[in-house]
Amino acid sequence: MSLSAKEKVIVKDFFAKVSSRSDEIGAEALARLIVVYPQTKSYFAHWKDLSPNGAPARKQGITVMGGLYEAVSKIDDMAGGLLTLSELHAFVLRVDPVNFKILSHCIMVVLSMLFAEEFTPQIHVAVDKFLALVALALSEKYR
């Protein structure tokens, strides 16, 4: 499943449109990740504060969104463009790939909440595919 030319435009346009609230999106998505899927906290045992609205969660959410915007800019070759991030996730973080799906779902719930009118089914499918491809690029070096 790859993104068509039209879907790439949809993704770029949508992410540009929501960019002014990207910190908020990231923070909300992370909060939901650790509340709705508490097992994900296992990756954040080193945080002083594991609360969903705490500073570490918010910061992590902002970091994730930064990575997503980088992926948008490299949408034509994500595996190549995200090589450093891929190596980070494979050799250092070693996050089980199932969690990429979970976080993607949380991100889309937040997008739907904050941008109800804009997050139409057509945009939803393009974003869903994009996030799945980002996850794939991040797991590129796993084995």
Binding site: R32, V35, F119, P121, V125
Partner: protein, 147 residues
């Protein structure tokens, strides 16, 4: 046996009691058919599902969407034994409709997204947690009788 706290029961009852089935009903099913197009395999007799606009305007999809959503009412009323409540429906989906149970999860995800859109900021992380727990029990119960 699934344990529910009062903090979990409340938002679930509230969401469904406030739901406008005419408005919300068609939305999760049509979204599911657009976002996961392979699911259209179960709706061969629904006519035009050729593109997103056709799906969203299709009256059979709208009607069936409402049917499915009303199907959740029974679980909302019988939260303490959803497994038994859906035993027959599970058999139906397995033996007669031959639906891959992963579809229940896909539709549940679309319902979550639709409810999030309707509720906005009121769909807090805790509410999302309770709602998804409820849907997970529904999904599990519908797949329970498959063999």
């Amino acid at each position: 046996m699934v344990e529910w706290t009062d903090f979990e029961r409340a938002p679930i009852q509230s969401i469904f009691s406030k739901m406008d089935y005419d408005d919300v009903g068609p939305a999760p099913l049509s979204r599911y058919l657009v976002v996961y197009p392979w699911t259209q395999r179960y709706f061969g007799n629904f006519g035009n599902l050729y593109n997103a606009a056709a799906i969203q305007g299709n009256p059979m999809v709208a009607a069936h969407g409402k049917t499915v959503l009303h199907g959740l009412d029974r679980a909302v009323k019988n939260m303490d034994d959803i497994k038994a409540t859906y035993a027959e429906l599970s058999v139906l989906h397995s033996e007669k409709l031959h639906v891959d149970p992963d579809n229940f999860r896909l539709l549940a995800d679309c319902l979550t997204i639709v409810v999030a859109a309707r509720m906005g900021a009121a769909f807090t992380a805790d509410v999302q947690g309770a709602f998804q727990k409820f849907l997970a029990v529904v999904v599990s119960s519908l797949g329970r009788q498959y063999h």
